[in-house]
Symmetry: D2
Subunit: 396 residues, 4 copies
């Protein structure tokens, strides 16, 4: 089993998830394509980086991502920073010949995402973008049904990502509400996951028309942390402006003739990580809700009329990835498992010199959709999505 | 208790529902504002009308709606015909001074609906349009929460009406698929209910942008019945063209600043009468699914953080209409109950000389929204919805 | 269509439900086996009876059930009184040659139920006991699956009936909490429904062991009504003793080798009319929850391993009784529909001179199970249930 | 941060889960009470042990648990073997002064469990038994509600553990179906988890009456693995006898006056890891279903009558363990997280020299309940459960 030396840039919540994934990957996938070696973790100060190394069991630490990117002992750069740093790091990493896995969205703008895509393509490195929800076994099962033709030709896709961790106007001003760091708000942070699921399950999006809103215009300036999320204490201190959206709704057209809607909001009291999709095909329907992620619901037209209805399938040993996870359905898939599978699929491609999806082409294409959503939100017009990477042919 | 003499035009499925409502109304609402007297039922032939009278317990029958509309003994005309007859009957009834309850959509086009509205207004008669889902106790409870401010300012509305009784391309060509009778397809038949719920709960819709699709372009010509629905046998006989939509998705703007989406489809395998709405407000959220219509789900921002989440409220004696229904929650609200309440609210207004909602103004306004959806489906542009009846002020 | 003249004894909540059923029966079932004629309603005073006649549209009224039972114009006696009057009325009715439908439980004790059963048998009249939940279309569908062998040999039954309308110790002392009227508490009032479902779906119960509890020992004496249920105002007035159970749990053995558990409680905050059963067979499983009564859930062993799981079937035109109800699944089955079907099935048997289930034999057998539960609750021992009516052979 | 040196006996499914827990523990709990060092893994052959060490990242391996138990460098013995080896290993480990965490059930019989308990008590070592479902955050939240008095005095507990991975009579004869290894079937393997939850949430069980069944009497002899579970291929080869139960149902009494029922079955088609409990108290109710383990449902009596119903609470940063898990509710708790928390709580007690629950006293007490269930299954009588460890006082 080959060692793959990894350097991870960013030691926050995502750093935790990625560290878990590397530690657990061979435990789940065995024989494993590689042993991920957690070589170096980078954070903004040596102190933060040292703590991250200690906590997440990395061999070394650094506060200079540039040094690390150019370290010849490193095979893989894992980018888990705020969005605005993705492009600079990724392009440097590509130029240094490193394989790259980057958190989503790939970049604050499609322009930056496009430069990342081009740099990686030039360098010929393996890339991945961490749209991890594709890796939920129930989502992979939906893909399998679709690929088998079990729901026929797809007519309609409806996807949502609803949250409430920042629905309170007094929750802190994370970088996720600042355009210069995040690029956009709900569109890029959560809506991009739904765009990725739509592209994965249905095919390439050709055009969008959108409503993009900001309902909460300022929030308390955050102290003591750049990205406190749901558990953060409320504050009545000085407030700073929110200059990104917190909600978007789109109608979409796919190249293959299907239609759809995509909604992302941060203002949905009672919804936590409510990533759902419903797909209607000529032969059946699929429904998924990540809040109950062990389940996939599927209805088949051809069932006898007194036995037709949504079936609730629990993923397990007989469904995708199941032989590598837990031996009984509903023992329970958590967030960690989605990241373990993601790490596996990426590192397998690195070892085998193949590609994995979603990669930088997918990340770029998703960013083009995001940009189109934002533009449509400004203009009120349908906006065509350029097919910059040729991915439509593969999906359509 | 005053007698109200009713004549009903149309003895099909809706005739059954309305007959049940009149028979049951005083049983549920007691003391009752009136005793509905089922005087005359009208169908297209004497034979059909006689059977309807026998089956639904009407005192007399007729095959001439014109005679009946002009019968001085009749107080109320109940229109339960296919859509294309609504206007002619309703206008004649209004001119004869009859109070009118009309099935939905009010008419195939907004133009016709507008003429109905004007005629009734001129005549000063009490009108109602049978958007019965407003009468679901859980929907009335949602309205109560909103009116009490319990969910704050409304930011977002998402409504759906998904069905599958005609998702099979071999299900028969009911009049519901013919433009000259129905006016439109999913838009008017089912989408209009969601439009009504949106107007009822959120306020007046000011503009829409829509995708309107027809996925099934022809169906077997129906024999032996004008409106066989879900239970109809499949056929491989001669086929006729479907010239209406079977699916529409819209983004909507409300006058009060809220945004929303509305989806109606007949192609959703596994969905039966899937009328849902989710409303996000600054103080909470509401979710409703008619398929589990005894329940309303509501989440309140101000609940303690370890006790916050959607509450599943079962309607019963302590919620709207509850004192008139069944003594224990979840004994069960069915379709019949929604029509019993509808009949009560309408006849109460007739007796008291007041108005009831939804009335012809609401039906007209909903038809204007439907027309805007259809136009946007053709043009791809946002279409403003004229506020023809001043209802925006009331709801706004 | 033959007229059937009915006299109903009791004008409370059940009187309302039965009156609705008679009015609606031919509307739903057409051609109808008979036209139910609501001749006479009886209540404890002329005043109450007159109001009931007016409200529920009965031709006449009386305060003397004895006169009515002996009225030669009457074909059917419908008993909707408190439990302690069932036997006397039913036996007199049987002796007068009347067909009888009686509310459940058949009587406060098995001894009385047995006398009713014997009297009706001697008289050769058609009987029914109003365990209406059998008439829920989804329950009838469960029965159909079982009869078709779709879930194989039944191994296990688990049934519950949980409520909270009297979970508050300050809710009023209805007759349902008084042994001399009701016979028992949760056991007879709600548990008997589960016993009936168990017998219907699985077969005859041969023995039980039970825990029977009374957690609320006194309640405010009720003024202004004998049977105020869920909506009743709380009171801090004088209290009276509760001398019946409010909760029971049993393990049961069936003659055919299956095992099961039955739970009934009035103390389940948040449960309203939570009648559920889960049945495990060698070929599949069934789950039902009356609170979502349009649905039946069924899982089949023989589904492919990546498509196996509970299917949620909505009852409608393609499931039992569906052709007589509403044309689209999930338009909605309410409490009323269960009683309409019940009235139909009973009156059809009256007209055709056949029998219907559940009848007095079933009511008697259920009462024997109830008595065994109460006895086991006292002794802590398994108690055999005598098979007094030979029904085991039919079901086993 | 102190190192704790661990040796784990058993490299199967549970070995995987425990290895993940040790690797992840400081990532989640930070600052961490200790750094678990995965020193030695033991399996039945050197080859299996070497593979386990490689896969699960243990420093060394061995095929002699006796050597390892006596290795002075080891602080903690983790027992993840089949049940019949627990006692011998645990007693040796205790005598060697090792702290011990042991998989459940603690032993095949209460007698063995008692010896383990006594040995550990004599040795003064810290013990834990791996009833990990207590560690589900939603279960811990239920405990918090109960401890805060939010649901009042507990009246009723109903718990289930339903599975189907062995519902097919052709699924292989794992050691879990052999009495000499497992001790019992569904009772010990899964029912014991429900017993543990009942004791945790309600208090000590004083007596039981039970139905214990074996519906599948023989299964194909398993080749190539001692414990293939749900994913195992079906076989038509030679069959061996099942000499344990596959299903049990019990009524239980608690010392504090509450009553309850406990059901465990391996024959529930469509149920996967269906661990549920419903608790009714004087002030509210709680419902939990592990298949949707991110959620807890709770109903409060004191909510206003038009806002009362089950609330669906998603665990997250504001609920127990939440600060150490994921930053947003419904990112997702999986099986892994329950074991990570379990490892943390145990190792924290080891470092601090305190105790943790559930420990060997709890494991022993649960085994006494299991034995009582089996005895009652044989005798049909209520069986008292001895309170061997004094735990009733703590819980009651």
């Amino acid at each position: 089993m080959q060692d793959i030396n990894i350097a991870m840039i960013g030691g926050g919540f995502m750093g935790k998830a990625h560290s878990l994934a590397y530690a657990a990957m061979p435990m789940f996938f065995w024989p494993s394509p590689a042993r991920p070696v957690k070589k170096i973790v980078v954070d903004v100060t040596d102190e933060l980086a040292r703590t991250a190394a200690d906590r997440y069991a990395w061999e070394g630490f650094s506060s200079s991502w540039r040094d690390v990117v150019n370290d010849p002992s490193i095979d893989v750069i894992d980018i888990a920073t705020p969005n605005n740093l993705h492009a600079e790091i990724a392009i440097a990493a590509a130029e240094a010949g490193k394989h790259i896995i980057c958190e989503k969205p790939l970049a604050p703008t499609a322009e930056e995402a496009g430069r990342m895509y081009e740099a990686a393509k030039r360098a010929g490195v393996v890339t991945a973008v961490a749209f991890n929800y594709r890796r939920t076994p129930a989502v992979a099962l939906a893909k399998k049904y679709i690929d088998e033709g079990a729901i026929g030709e797809i007519l309609n896709f409806r996807g949502t990502y609803l949250q409430d961790w920042s629905a309170d106007a007094n929750s802190p001003l994370s970088w996720r509400f600042q355009k210069n760091i995040a690029g956009s708000g709900a569109v890029g942070d959560i809506g991009s996951h739904v765009v990725d699921l739509a592209r994965y399950l249905v095919g390439e999006i050709s055009a969008v028309t959108s409503l993009v809103s900001t309902f909460i215009h300022d929030r308390p300036i955050q102290s003591g942390g750049l990205d406190a999320l749901g558990g953060a204490a409320k504050s009545d201190g000085p407030r700073g402006a929110v200059d990104v959206d917190d909600e978007s709704m789109s109608l979409v057209r796919f190249h293959n003739g299907a239609v759809g809607s995509i909604e992302a909001t941060r203002n949905a009291w009672g919804r936590n990580n409510f990533i759902t999709f419903e797909i209607h095909g000529t032969e059946g329907s699929i429904f998924f809700n990540y809040e109950n992620r062990d389940e996939l619901q599927v209805a088949f037209k051809n069932d006898p009329s007194d036995r037709r209805g949504f079936r609730t399938i629990y993923t397990g040993p007989n469904t995708p990835y199941g032989q590598s996870l837990w031996p009984i359905p509903a023992l329970g898939i958590g967030y960690g498992e989605t990241k373990i599978i993601e790490a596996h699929d990426f590192l397998k491609a690195v070892v085998e010199g193949t590609t994995v999806e979603p990669n930088f082409a997918d990340g770029y294409q998703a960013a083009l959709v995001d940009d189109a959503i934002l533009e449509s939100g400004r203009t009120g017009q349908w906006v065509d999505v350029p097919n910059a990477t040729g991915s439509g042919a593969a999906h359509g």
